[in-house]
């Protein structure tokens, strides 16, 4: 759904839900929450690896959004603002637990995954992801999991377009190196 106001820019569905919530309609926030819960959880998990911690961060992110939605300046898409909060909160959480050196067992992580998804899960991918920095994981998650383009990534991570391009290139290259070490060397690709 998209509504266009002449001279005032376009309003997407998210913007309308935001306006309705700010006008006092609580159910509008429930709609935003239901729509973005999975994406926020996925993004947070991409940074934190641990699904349990990602779930906690996701709840905190939506609580922050609920309490601070009036500060959303509407200069970017709601999803961009939401992902920015998610990345910042996830990286912050990742730094806090860095000293704890909490390693998530693969078997433990697999328990919370649906059977059909677990069959497709590749532990080598997670192993390579764990070796990256939270910032690298964040940009790869935004690009490959959230399918954001570089412009959206630059807004979500509050960096310029060239920096986003460079960071994505480097993060992808670092992932490739770690991933190649995990993959048995063969000459065939798919």
């Amino acid at each position: 759904m998209s509504i266009y106001f002449e001279g005032a820019g376009s309003f997407d569905e998210d913007s309308i839900l935001v306006e309705r919530f700010l006008a006092g309609e609580a159910s509008a926030f429930e709609s935003l929450y239901s729509k973005y819960y999975g994406k926020v959880l996925s993004l947070s998990k991409g940074v934190l690896i641990s699904e349990e911690e990602a779930a906690d961060v996701t709840q905190e992110v939506f609580t922050l959004v609920y309490r601070n939605l009036h500060r959303f300046n509407r200069q970017s898409k709601f999803s961009t603002w939401l992902f920015r909060i998610t990345i910042n909160r996830s990286i912050q959480e990742s730094r806090k637990r860095r000293f704890k050196h909490k390693h998530v067992e693969l078997s433990e992580a697999s328990e919370s995954i649906a059977p059909e998804q677990a069959e497709d899960a590749d532990p080598r991918i997670q192993s390579a992801m764990e070796k990256l920095t939270p910032q690298d994981r964040a940009i790869l998650t935004l690009f490959y999991w959230q399918e954001q383009n570089l412009q959206e990534i630059s807004e979500s991570m509050e960096i310029n377009l060239n920096a986003a391009k460079t960071r994505l290139y480097r993060a992808r290259e670092r992932f490739r190196i770690f991933f190649e070490k995990e993959v048995p060397h063969d000459s065939e690709g798919n």
């Binding site: 926030f29 429930e30 929450y33 239901s34 819960y37 999975g38 959880l41 996925s42 998990k45 991409g46 699904e51 906690d56 709840q59 905190e60 939506f62 609580t63 922050l64 609920y66 309490r67 995954i113 649906a114 059909e116 998804q117 677990a118 497709d120 899960a121 590749d122 080598r124 991918i125 997670q126 390579a128 992801m129 790869l140 998650t141 490959y144 999991w145 290139y169 992808r172 992932f175 490739r176 991933f179 190649e180 993959v183 000459s187 065939e188 690709g189 798919n190």
Partner: protein
Amino acid sequence: MIPREIDDLMWTIAEGTDPAAIEAFGERYPNLREELLKRIRTVNALKSGNRLPKSTPVPTFQNTQVRPANWRLAWATFGFAILALFSFGFIRYSNHSVPNPDVTPVNISPAKAPDANIQFEPNRDLNPMTVPNNGGNTSQNQATNPPTTIDPPQTPETISGGLKTLKLESAPLHTAILLIAESGNFTVTIASGTPNPTVKLDFEGMEPMDMLKELGQQYAFTPVIDGQRAVLIIPKKDEDEGQITDNNR
């Protein structure tokens, strides 16, 4: 080392997964075919890395789950520390600014009586209300001069200590003399042979030197000024021992 432009091209082809583009690149750069396949594997891995189930159950939103941030705890701790610091400073200031009152009823156990022959250092804080009456010799100036410095040519006729109130229920005479000297801010030396009966003091608004003189009349000793702020207690040998009683007035 693969040039950056070629590397970018390989990533672009890997992202697009167009079979024709892959075949064309392999024909043009056969030595980089393996590198292209590695990037294709990497992109496939990254795209399949999102292992969350498609239908993730959405829990009920609860607006109560923000964990208290560390900075809140830090600010609370800092606030308590500041409060404690101010409290400590206020107590110290209060204790320092309140003047010590004059000597009022004091009960001293005879067992704690100090040695009668020692020099008694006056407590400088005991007499903040002292008014000088002998040629500008203020109590502060007296306090800054050590009482042990004795200059015989400058021996005054009397020692002013200000009007004091001193009451003792029961104490040895020597202890009473030392307390009077302390209240008058002068030292006292008690000569051997001075009697030391148990006495009761009840002086109100009197000069400490006058207290000693009155006590001397009752208990047979003579207070002799022996310097600027020093008094020597000499027993009366040619007179009667005096009426040694427990009451002096």
